[in-house]
């Protein structure tokens, strides 16, 4: 997937209150593969909604969206499954991990579907992020910050053209943020993929091609 186009979209619930000066809502906007975008927004302006739209979880918006010129309304459930496995990877704000499985099983669940990462690579990532000893621990026994790191690694367990991070590092100290950003950066570079990062204001440790205000 090379481009994501937003054509004057705005979430239905905030049609009336969305800022007309927003650089996302009501605009023609194109995201191109390989570029890094920072989207800053205040709470309640719909940044999670944007990612839900891009990920096909919600459809309650006005305007249209297109992937490589193909409008998203025409996508079938099976198309979305394919996109979620191959083109777009999303780290949810609530992570959506499975607390009753171990860390390793959480990663395997996704990786078995895509068959993308070799086991050594996943182990290496756990090590890089400082949680190699948690591999066989049930996820529900991990701290919030540790779970956040698992969610990031799981997002890497698939090929993608666009990586969507929603408030990703809110519970980590600066040193850890730096380490994770390093890992994400090298993955983005390796894959030539795009980054779309939503944040309340933090820029974290990435270089951006474009900064947009929601």
């Amino acid at each position: 997937m090379q481009t994501i186009e937003l054509k004057k979209i705005v979430p239905n619930p905030i049609v009336d209150i969305a800022s007309k000066t927003s650089e996302i809502w009501f605009q023609h906007k194109e995201f191109t593969r390989g570029k890094h975008y920072l989207i800053t927004a205040e709470s309640g302006t719909g940044k999670s909604s944007l990612f839900d739209f891009l990920y096909g979880r919600r459809r309650d918006f006005q305007g249209t969206m297109a992937f490589d010129g193909k409008e998203t309304q025409s996508l079938k459930v099976s198309d979305w499954n394919h996109i979620r496995q191959h083109n777009i990877s999303l780290v949810f704000q609530g992570f959506r991990l499975f607390p009753e499985l171990t860390v390793w099983e959480n990663l395997q669940l996704k990786n078995q579907l895509t068959g993308y990462l070799p086991n050594e690579k996943m182990k290496q990532m756990l090590e890089t992020l400082g949680i190699p000893d948690k591999q066989d621990v049930l996820l529900k026994l991990l701290s919030y910050g540790q779970q956040q790191r698992v969610a990031i690694i799981r997002a890497m367990c698939q090929p993608f053209d666009f990586l969507l991070l929603d408030e990703p590092f809110s519970h980590l100290d600066e040193q850890n943020q730096q380490i994770i950003c390093g890992l994400v950066n090298s993955e983005l570079k390796e894959r030539g993929a795009s980054l779309l990062l939503c944040s309340l204001g933090d820029e974290y440790f990435f270089n951006y091609d474009e900064k947009l205000k929601m």
């Binding site: 459930v77 996109i83 499985l101 669940l109």
Partner: protein, 395 residues
């Protein structure tokens, strides 16, 4: 495997056991009644069985006087006409007895035993007989006479005569392969025929040959025509109470009364259908229970299923662990049900084969096949339901 570990949470063993027990009960009842119905079908429909299409064989009572030749046991033409005119009689015919001497001989198992005996023949018109055999025919000039004997004669031989004489017991098939020599004499003539037993009857207590042969032989070797001493009657409705009344007032005797059997046949059929209906209802209720349990299970695992679909899992993959679960359950139920039915069938098959002439009490496909059909149908409904419910979650 991971999916199963994730999704098995919230499965309530009690519900599954309830489903298994209920389906097992329903399925067993349905299959057992189906198989029972199938097993006694020959008895219902067989033309020579206990519940055969019903004819009555009438004779006059043999009294003390008749033994000494005073009074006749034959039916006069007037009597025949009177019986024929009764409203319950559809048609009737007299037995034609042989008027000549018959001498039969055979040997069983090579030289083990030579049989020979004086015999007699009788005949009734073919329309009162339902003999399947293509050999049941005779034409003037033919040297082969087909014979039909009462099934009880075979039983008499197998269980009475054969054991006492150290002779082999014979099945209906083997006895049918035996060649019998028939020597017919009378009117200073004789002739030799070949013969075989081509069928068995439970209806008529006599040794039967084709009507054509008797008619020909009686004129050839016999001493002229006689009035019949036994007649066969086909009533419109066997359960008509007027029949019994009429015959008893005229002192006619009905050989092996089938009126009761006719009623029993209808009653048994109804009973089987009711039992089968109950089985079907139980099975349907069990299915309903399972569908509700599936609903509950999928609702309880709603978040997990939604998260899985957000990871890109297609609905059919998410549904698969549950689908396998019900399929394995159903196959298990089928296996147990077949075992139970086989066990019970063994019980009744023995008594049936002796009492009702159920010939094939060996292996049967009917209930296994129907069990597979029913379980396949249940599984398809369950599998489709699970898929739809999983799909519903990802709006």
């Amino acid at each position: 495997m991971l999916l199963w570990r994730l999704l098995r949470k919230n499965i309530v063993a009690g519900q599954l056991i309830g489903y298994m027990a209920a389906t097992l009960l329903g399925l067993t009842i349905v299959l057992l009644s189906l198989q029972f119905y199938h097993d006694i079908q020959p008895v219902f429909s067989a033309k020579e069985g206990v519940f055969a299409r019903d004819f009555l064989v009438l004779s006059k009572k043999v009294s003390f006087l008749k033994t000494f030749g005073m009074g006749s046991s034959e039916f006069s033409p007037d009597e025949l006409n009177e019986i024929k005119s009764q409203p319950f009689v559809k048609r009737l015919a007299g037995f034609t007895a042989s008027n000549f001497k018959v001498y039969a001989s055979t040997n069983i198992s090579g030289k083990t035993a030579n049989f020979s005996s004086l015999l007699f023949f009788e005949a009734v018109p073919d329309k009162f007989l339902d003999i399947d055999s293509t050999e049941w025919k005779w034409n003037p000039g033919s040297k082969f006479i087909p014979i039909v004997i009462p099934r009880t004669y075979l039983a008499l031989y197998n269980f009475g005569f054969a054991p006492s004489q150290n002779l082999p017991q014979l099945s209906e098939k083997t006895i049918g392969l035996m060649n019998i020599n028939i020597e017919v004499t009378g009117a200073n003539k004789d002739a030799v025929f070949q013969s075989r037993i081509v069928g068995f009857t439970d209806r008529i207590n006599s040794i039967l040959v084709p009507q054509k042969f008797i008619d020909w032989a009686n004129t050839e070797f016999g001493t002229g025509k006689e009035q019949p001493s036994r007649i066969i009657v086909e009533p419109h409705n066997l359960t008509d109470p007027a029949i019994g009344k009429y015959f008893s007032t005229h002192h006619y005797e009905i050989a092996n009364d089938k009126a009761a059997a006719g009623e029993a046949s209808a009653f048994l059929r109804t009973l089987i259908i009711i039992v089968m209906g109950i089985g079907i209802i139980i099975t349907m209720l069990a299915l309903g229970l399972m569908l509700l349990s599936i609903n509950l299970l999928i609702q309880k695992n709603h978040d997990k299923i939604e998260n899985l679909s957000l990871l890109g899992f297609p609905s059919h993959i998410i549904a698969r662990p549950y689908q396998w679960l019900v399929i394995i359950l159903n196959v298990g139920i089928l296996g147990i049900a077949i075992g139970v039915v086989t066990y019970f069938r063994g019980y009744y098959a023995d008594s049936l084969s002796v009492g009702m002439g159920m010939t094939d009490n060996s292996f049967a496909w009917t209930y296994i096949l129907w069990g597979v059909y029913i379980i396949a149908a249940l599984s398809i409904i369950n599998v489709a339901w699970i898929y739809l419910k999983v799909k519903e979650i990802r709006k």
